[in-house]
């Protein structure tokens, strides 16, 4: 396999070349896990870096994410178990949604795609998500709950979602990450979130960090 070819295809947002690269690698018996870990995931890490450096913007990030998803789609049925990554680690589960009253989805969807590109299993709960849906997601196994809000008027509903998790007695089992245009670290602290991220690539970094603390506390 030439991981560089797949890597470049994803970074350049070229769906056809991504699929060709993945199919060629599979034809020469490269394990799906290896393609994921050595080409797709590093490519999306690079996309995140380019976004932070303001060399990539929303359009470039979207086409890269689409290319990555097309490669991932081919690999998914072949991954030994969808829940397993090499080394026997369980791939982390997350659920993301835009909070009640808010219908904005593009930022949240970018975070979901970037997280998938980082090896997470992510459930996209959509927009205008009532607090109880986040509780259900935890009951379905999510270890990270992501709350998104675009408006100063709807970010208040993030607290309602966190409160619902507390009331359901599941708050301590999981980590909550928040993001969206009007959000700040101070507001995240104020409503009792575990993490804040200002954009999709820092959300991935933060989610990884939170997962590692979660695993430590459970050991």
């Amino acid at each position: 396999m030439d991981p560089k070819k797949i890597f470049d295809a994803v970074v350049n947002g070229n769906i056809q070349e991504t699929q060709d690269g993945v199919n060629e690698a599979l034809a020469s018996n490269v394990p799906a896990e290896q393609i994921l870990n050595e080409a797709l995931i590093p490519a999306m890490t690079e996309v995140g870096c380019l976004f932070e450096a303001q060399e990539f913007y929303v359009p470039e990030m979207l086409v890269s994410a689409k290319a990555m998803q097309s490669g991932l789609k081919t690999l998914k049925p072949l991954l030994a178990s969808q829940a397993k990554q090499p080394g026997g680690q369980t791939s982390p589960k997350a659920a993301f949604g835009t909070v009640k009253g808010d219908l904005h989805d593009i930022g949240k969807d970018l975070v979901v795609m970037m997280l998938e590109g980082a090896g997470f299993q992510v459930t996209n709960l959509g927009v205008d998500v009532p607090p109880e849906k986040f509780v259900e997601a935890v009951n379905d196994g999510a270890q990270i709950i992501g709350l998104s809000a675009m408006l100063t008027t709807t970010m208040l509903n993030m607290k309602a979602a966190i409160d619902a998790l507390t009331e359901a007695g599941v708050r301590n089992k999981i980590k909550v990450i928040v993001g969206g245009a009007p959000l700040t670290q101070a507001y995240a602290d104020h409503i009792g979130a575990d993490g804040f991220a200002k954009d999709a690539s820092s959300a991935v970094r933060k989610a990884k960090e939170l997962i590692s603390t979660l695993e430590m506390t459970h050991e």
Binding site: G13, Q54, F56, Y57, V58, P59, E60, L62, V63, K66, K100, G101, L103, H104, I106, G107, D109, D128, L151, T152, T153, T154, L156, N157, A181, P182, T184, K198, D199
Partner: protein, 388 residues
Amino acid sequence: MNSRERVLTALNHKEPDCVPYDMGGTVVTGIQAKAYSRLRTYLGLPEKEAVIIDILQQLAQVDDDVMDRLGVDFRNISPRSTASFKIELKVTPDGKYSYFHDEYQIGWRMPLDGGMYYDMFEHPLSGEITAEMVENYSLPDPLDPSRFDGLREAAIRVLEQEKRALVIGNISAGIFELYLWTRGFKDGYTDWAENPELAKKILRKYTDLQLAYWERMFEVMEGIPIDVVQMADDLAGQNSMLISPASYRRLLKPLHKEMFDYIHSKTDAKIFFHSCGAIRALIPDLIDVGVDILNPVQVSAANMDSAELKREFGKDICFWGGGVDTQNAFDESHTPDQVRADVRKRLEDFMPGGGFVFNTVHNIQGNVPPENIMAMWETLQEYGVYQK
């Protein structure tokens, strides 16, 4: 100095008697209906149901009594929908959303429980489309006479009786905004990177729509001095541009220049350009294409520090907005004292030398209490005065 003189002085980068004040001069410098009703009550003005002038943002019409009480220096005149079109509000079968389709066949919905705005859920040009489908997509008629009914008479009244500055609104959102709204955000951004020719074709269509509208509007207003023409295109997010500056220059800037050149050739009006977020990297380009006034001056976005913006661009562009940080100093979680402190800072930064119209960053949102609005206004009265 009457309102119009004050505004024109400021927009010509000179110091008038005091900083001009806007509330409701455009659909991006107004006040949300819930906040407006509370403000009326707080001011002891007769109770009346707010007239919604912008259904998407649930903006209230600012009534004459409020304009007089607060000394609003602007009057907006905007085209109407065509007579052939009427918004029909419906409720989704699950009872959760109010929704409608607009003149462009864009679907909008608002949660009935706690919703404050309508947001898009359907885009007429989404999915797999061809250039032919773009050509066949039918736009509303920009020249329908019913759009212009009574506007000339209203403008004469503003000029002769009110002496307020006259702001003329656009027929639609900006061309890039309309492109994303009709194509859908994901498809629109994807085309921007993958299929710019299709994007250009759609943008051309909306540029022609707006040019036809402005041509007719200038005919309707012939002989009446228009002070401000309101244009827009949101191009940035909280932390950075949404599209690369290079792609702006390649795909969008030539069309902005074409429209603004046309407007400048037809009128002495200043071009007001609304663009939210972190757009500092583009300000030189906007000056280059003939933008005279920048709005909303989102001082909370990345690299949008008010003092720096004034220092770097204040000679070449006016700032209309940025008067109070809507995201971090204005809503119900902030005290009137916090509002006063923020307003004082913004006045210090923006008002020297003129070139500044006071307005909040974007519309006053539904969660801003009247105490904070009046703390803002009182601070403006106290400190927004130029020393003679």
